[in-house]
Symmetry: C2
Subunit: 263 residues, 2 copies
C-alpha cells in the first residue's frame, strides 16, 4: 500500500508557510499502514500539479493525497488537475453544492459573513472530478474529494490545517481504514530507546547489525548535533501483517539492540 503526498502552493515554495500538513499526514498514513514514498511541493500551476499526479499514479501508488488548492480563488486549481490527470471531467457535484450552500447559510445567519448566496467563487468549490465523493468540511467551506480509480484513490484536502484535519477525521480516516483492510495493509509499532552512546558513527554500526539480524524492523539513530549529543536515542519501527508479528519483531529488535550495546 504505497502512498504519495502532493502539497500545492506558492507560499510553501517561497518559505512563507511551513508545510506542517504533509508532516501530520505522513504520521497518520504511516500509522494506518501505508508506506509513504514521496512528498512533493509544487507551485499553483495546473500542468505541474497534474504532472506529479500522473507520475504518482504511474508508479502504482495505491493512495495519493493532495493538500491545498480547493478554495474559491482562481489559483485554487487542484481538482481541475486531478480531473485532468485521471482522465475525468470536472463537474458540478450536487452533494458538494449542498454542503457549500449549508456552510454559507450558517455563516450568514451567525453574522460571520456579509453576503449570502452561491455566487461563482462559492459554486466553484462544488466542482469535483466526475465520480468523486465529496467529504464534508466541518471547519471551512470547501469540501474534500475522494476519487476512487481502478487501482488507486486520490484524496484531496484543503490547505488550511484545521480544515484538512477536520475532513480527515470526519470523512477520510474511516475510508482509509477500509481501504487498508480491503487491500491488506500492515501493523506498525514504534519505540524509542536511549543508547548511552554519543557518537553516531559508532552507534550506526550497531543499528545496522540489528536490522540485518531482525526482519521487518527499521532502526534510526536520532542525532541532534555533536554540541548537544550525550545519549543518542534509537527509534525502532516494527512492521507486520498482524499485531502479533509486529510485536514479536519489536521485542526481537529491542533484545538485539540491548545485547549489542552491552557487548
Amino acid at each position: 500500500m504505497e502512498a504519495g503526498i502532493l502539497s500545492v502552493g506558492k507560499e510553501l515554495l517561497m518559505g512563507y508557510t511551513l508545510d506542517t500538513n504533509s508532516h501530520w499526514l505522513a504520521g497518520e498514513l504511516t500509522s494506518l499502514g501505508f508506506e509513504l514514498q514521496r512528498i512533493t511541493v509544487v507551485d499553483d500551476v495546473l500542468d505541474e500539479i497534474a504532472q506529479v499526479l500522473s507520475d504518482y499514479l504511474g508508479r502504482g501508488f495505491s493512495l495519493v493525497v493532495t493538500t491545498g488548492g480547493l478554495g474559491p480563488t482562481p489559483d485554487d486549481m487542484t481538482l481541475t488537475a486531478v480531473a485532468k490527470a485521471c482522465g475525468r471531467d470536472l463537474v458540478l457535484n450536487d452533494t458538494a453544492l449542498e454542503m457549500v450552500e449549508r456552510t454559507y447559510a450558517r455563516l450568514y445567519i451567525e453574522g460571520k459573513i456579509k453576503r449570502d448566496g452561491l455566487f461563482e467563487e462559492r459554486r466553484k468549490m462544488a466542482m469535483l472530478p466526475e465520480g468523486a465523493i465529496p467529504l464534508s468540511n466541518p471547519v471551512g467551506a470547501a469540501p474534500g474529494s475522494w476519487l476512487e480509480l481502478e487501482d488507486a484513490v486520490v484524496l484531496s484536502l484543503p490547505g488550511v490545517p484545521a480544515e484538512l484535519k477536520g475532513i480527515f477525521e470526519e470523512g477520510a480516516r474511516e475510508r482509509l481504514l477500509r481501504l487498508v483492510g480491503d487491500r491488506g495493509g500492515r501493523v506498525v509499532l514504534t519505540a524509542e530507546v536511549p543508547s548511552g552512546i554519543e557518537d553516531e558513527s559508532v552507534l550506526c554500526r550497531i543499528t545496522r547489525k540489528v536490522m540485518e539480524e531482525v526482519e521487518g524492523v527499521y532502526l534510526k539513530t536520532l542525532p541532534t548535533g555533536f554540541h548537544r549529543n550525550t545519549n543518542i536515542s534509537v527509534r525502532i519501527t516494527a512492521f507486520g501483517e498482524t499485531e502479533e508479528l509486529a510485536e514479536q519483531r519489536m521485542e526481537g529488535a529491542k533484545e538485539a539492540l540491548k545485547r549489542k550495546l552491552e557487548g
Copy 2:
C-alpha cells in the same frame, strides 16, 4: 534562476521529523533571488534520490539543494546519488578528509567521543563527487558539497538543522550570491521596515495583502518571540529584471504597507 530542493530521509516520510530545513532554505533561496520550483522528499534509496536529481537537472534548474544523507551510516547515500545523477565518480576528497579528521580529533581531545581515528564510517563522509568542493561544517562532522556542473550547481547539506544552517552561512551563502550575480539572475532588493505591531498573526494578514496588491515582491515578518516583540519588523524583498523595476516595486510595497498599517 530556477531552483529545486530535495530532502532525503525516511524519517520525513514516516512523519517522525518535520522538514523545517526545506522551509528555511526556501526563504533563503527566495531572498537570494532564486525561484524555487519544487521541493521533493524521498526515501533513503539510491535510485529514488538519483532519479529526482536527474529530473531537476533535466528541467534546467540552475540550482539543486539536497538536504540529509551525508552522515556516516550506510543509509546516508546522497552524495553517491549526486555522483550517479551527474555522471561523476565518488572519490575520496583530501580537503574533506582533513576537515573530518580535524573534527574528530577535536571531539576526542574535548572528551566528547571515546574513539579516535578515521575508521571506515568516518572516512565515508569525505567521499565526494569528483570535482566537488567540500564546505566546512562548523557544527558537526560531515562536510557539505558544492558541485559545479556546466549549467547548474548541486549543493548538498546535512539534515541536522544546526549543521545545515552552519554550512549555509559559512560556506554556501557567499557562493550562491556569486552564482546569482554571474548567471544574470533577477535583481533582488531587500529592506527592513518596523511595523509598530507586536502580534505576528495580525501583521501577517497585512503583509499578505501587500503581496497580493504589489507584483514581484515578497514580505516576511521577523518575529523574535512574544516576550521580546514590541515592534515586529517586516523584510520586503522586491524582484525585477532590471534595477529600476525592482526599485519601483520596492517603493510600491513600502507605500502599500504604510497605508495598511495606518488604516
